[in-house]
């Protein structure tokens, strides 16, 4: 059997699949970030914190309410989304007329507050959350053992991503949203309720983050720091995909997951930086991002 750079092909296949799974998280997270940035022009630095909240809410539903994974998959994003809506109404909405730097600063502050509060009440060591019984175990694919849960992660995120894409790019609602980001006053003057639309969009973007959080709860440590460093990687994904391009952030999310996965095999130390190297190269060659519309 031939080997590629000393790596047996079945191992390589396994790594590709793993990369795809990680890519699913990038895709859902960057999608939420892209929705919020693309449509609200706010760099939502609290995205990582909201992802963490998704996982925590799932845990709380279970420990305090006995509500399991499947209902939580729906409930947690809704709950976190509603909290997001409240934040948007009370705080973020005051910033739309300003440079997007201010949005970044505000959400950065929010992230600190949210993470700090969770740390104070739940510590940093993390909390256990079990894989739902229906998805325990795994399949032997010959080249690797694929846990059922990971397979589910891919399926769930693909569905959510493409559903979102369709809504934004192919429906009237989406066109309204895109227009409202450019010139909310004018869209309002056409009779559209822009503030409500924006609020709901933010809520939706936040809910996407929380959804990723629930997906992550059974496999990653549920702790207040779980989203802290994620934001800049995810934001890099959005930039590589092309800001404002929904499809771009989805495909790039999956793609970068795979590339990162391969780096872990060939140059593991570099896997933390590979996304940034790619970002630099992409921006130098195609500044509007892989799928962005040229300026």
């Amino acid at each position: 059997m031939f080997e590629l750079l000393g790596i047996p092909p079945q191992v390589l296949l396994g790594q590709l699949l793993i990369g795809l799974i990680n890519g699913s998280f990038y895709a859902v997270l960057s999608l939420g970030l892209a929705v919020i940035f693309g449509l609200l022009n706010i760099i939502n630095f609290a995205h990582g914190a909201q992802y963490m909240m998704g996982a925590f809410v799932a845990w709380m539903l279970l420990s305090y309410g006995g509500i399991g994974y499947w209902p939580a998959l729906f409930l947690a994003p809704v709950i976190v989304g509603v909290i997001g809506i409240a934040l948007e109404r009370v705080l973020i909405a005051r910033l739309y007329k300003l440079d997007h730097l201010y949005g970044l600063l505000l959400t950065f502050g929010l992230a600190l507050i949210i993470q700090g509060l969770f740390r104070n009440y739940y510590g940093v060591s993390g909390l256990p959350y079990q894989i739902p019984s229906a998805l325990q175990g795994g399949q032997n694919l010959g080249f690797m053992f694929l846990p059922n849960y990971r397979g589910w992660v891919i399926v769930a995120s693909v569905i959510v991503c493409f559903g979102t894409w369709f809504m934004i790019e192919k429906t009237r609602l989406g066109a309204n949203l895109r227009a409202a980001t450019e010139n909310p006053e004018l869209v309002g003057a056409f009779g559209v309720n822009v503030p409500r639309m924006i609020t709901l969009t933010y809520g939706f973007g936040v809910a996407l983050a929380a959804f990723a959080g629930v997906l992550a709860a059974p496999i990653y440590s549920v702790n207040p720091n779980m989203g802290a460093d994620l934001i800049i990687v995810v934001f890099a994904v959005v930039v590589i995909g092309g800001m404002g391009s929904i499809m771009g952030s989805i495909l790039t999310g999956f793609g970068l997951g795979v590339i990162e996965g391969l780096t872990r095999v060939f140059y593991p130390e570099g896997s933390a930086v590979v996304i940034f190297v790619i970002m630099a190269i992409v921006l130098m060659i195609k500044p509007e991002g892989l799928f962005g519309k040229s300026a």
């Binding site: 799974i21 940093v124 993390g126 079990q130 053992f145 990653y220 720091n225 872990r264 593991p268």
Partner: protein, 377 residues
């Protein structure tokens, strides 16, 4: 005598649970247990969050010594901040009793006459787990190493022990720090066919590695995981279900004897969880320090350190031991195994002892350490 103790540690970051406010409580308990006030020693404890940043730690340490009259600094987890504080302490001629940091450099290349390193270090962890696991038949290893100084030091020290015990290291993979997904690295470890996968990382990284190893059925597949640095909090967050059978080295476990149980009960009333070994080390270190202060009768740091090194250590948590010239505290270490859910009787009933490692065996001999001033005379 008036004594001010400064507990400097991580109160908001990744090590907040195992040090943090709990270390402050442990120090207070030591003061109370020693009955310092009754002995005419007026102890004041202050604390601060160094946010795991060496510049902040060094700044606070300086200010404490220079302006706030701090006599000794306690705890200081993470290697970089500990090394910074050790230097500042030496510069000001005060006392530094470290409990939280892992790096053995504190008593080796970067040793200072004013540094006491209490609880554990990378060498002891390596010796404990590495040796015991290898001798128990786990003679081929593969490391998952956090890609920073601590991880590499742990891997290096453990490799030495494994090889000395007749084992073989088949390979290692360095993962970014901090990481979230370890499945890729675990698959590499699995493919290596090693009997033991050594986790040379810490905190959430270790927890995630173990969680995902169980998800990918690595333990069922016949490989064994060895957590080189695991705290009780980590095991708790994994749950016995996921962590069962895991072996780890620790300097302290709350359920070892009546003394530790009594202490832990009191501690738990304050903090809600039993003490980690780091917090236990802060307690023991403070107690020993106060004994020395009483003996010296003043806050003269040089005399206190000398007395601390002269006196045998003896406290309810670590038992008897002593402090070497290079500042290394020598006490027993324990190889523990995580109980299965069936064995476990309570939320925190998580570990059972496998073996006791005597202090001399656990810590590196001073002669091999390269601490200049200790070897000078």
């Amino acid at each position: 005598t008036d004594i001010t103790l400064g507990v400097l540690n991580d109160q908001s970051g990744v090590y907040a649970d195992l040090s943090g406010q709990g270390s402050v409580v442990a120090a207070q308990m030591a003061v109370a247990d020693f009955d310092a006030a009754g002995k005419g020693i007026n102890v004041n404890i202050i604390s601060a969050d160094h946010q795991n940043k060496p510049d902040i730690a060094s700044n606070i340490a300086r200010q404490w010594y220079d302006q706030d009259g701090v006599d000794a600094i306690l705890d200081v987890p993470t290697s970089s901040t500990a090394l910074a504080v050790a230097d500042v302490t030496a510069e000001f001629g005060k006392v530094f009793i470290n409990s939280g940091a892992a790096t053995s450099d504190l008593t080796r290349a970067n040793c200072q006459p004013t540094t006491i390193h209490w609880t554990y270090d990378t060498a002891a962890l390596a010796n404990g787990t590495g040796k015991a696991v290898t001798e128990a038949g786990g003679d081929t290893w593969f490391f998952l190493t956090a890609d920073y100084a601590f991880g590499h030091a742990l891997e290096r020290d453990t490799t030495a022990v494994v090889e000395a015990s007749g084992g073989e290291v088949l390979g290692s993979v360095a993962h970014p720090f901090p990481g979230t997904d370890f499945s890729s690295f675990l698959l590499q470890a699995q493919a290596s066919g090693a009997k033991v996968i050594g986790l040379a990382n810490a905190g959430a990284d270790t927890v995630n590695s173990i969680k995902q190893a169980s998800e990918f059925g690595i333990v069922q597949g016949g490989q064994k995981l060895a957590g080189l640095l695991l705290f009780i909090n980590n095991v708790h967050s994994l749950g016995a279900q996921t962590a069962q059978g895991l072996q780890m080295t620790t300097a302290f476990y709350w359920d070892m004897n009546d003394d530790t149980r009594a202490f832990s009960e009191r501690f738990k009333e304050e903090m809600g969880s039993p003490p980690s070994m780091v917090q236990a080390g802060v307690y023991a270190g403070t107690l020993h320090y106060l004994k020395a202060v009483e003996a010296v009768g003043s806050d003269d740091a040089e005399a206190i350190v000398a007395t601390m090194k002269e006196m045998k250590t003896d406290d309810p948590l670590f038992g008897e031991g002593y402090i070497r010239k290079d500042g290394r505290v020598i006490h027993d270490m324990y190889l523990m195994e995580v109980k299965s859910p069936e064995e476990s009787t309570g939320e925190w009933d998580l570990l059972k002892e496998v073996a006791t490692i005597s202090g001399e065996d656990a810590f590196l001999p001073m002669e091999d350490g390269g601490c200049a001033f200790a070897l000078a005379d």
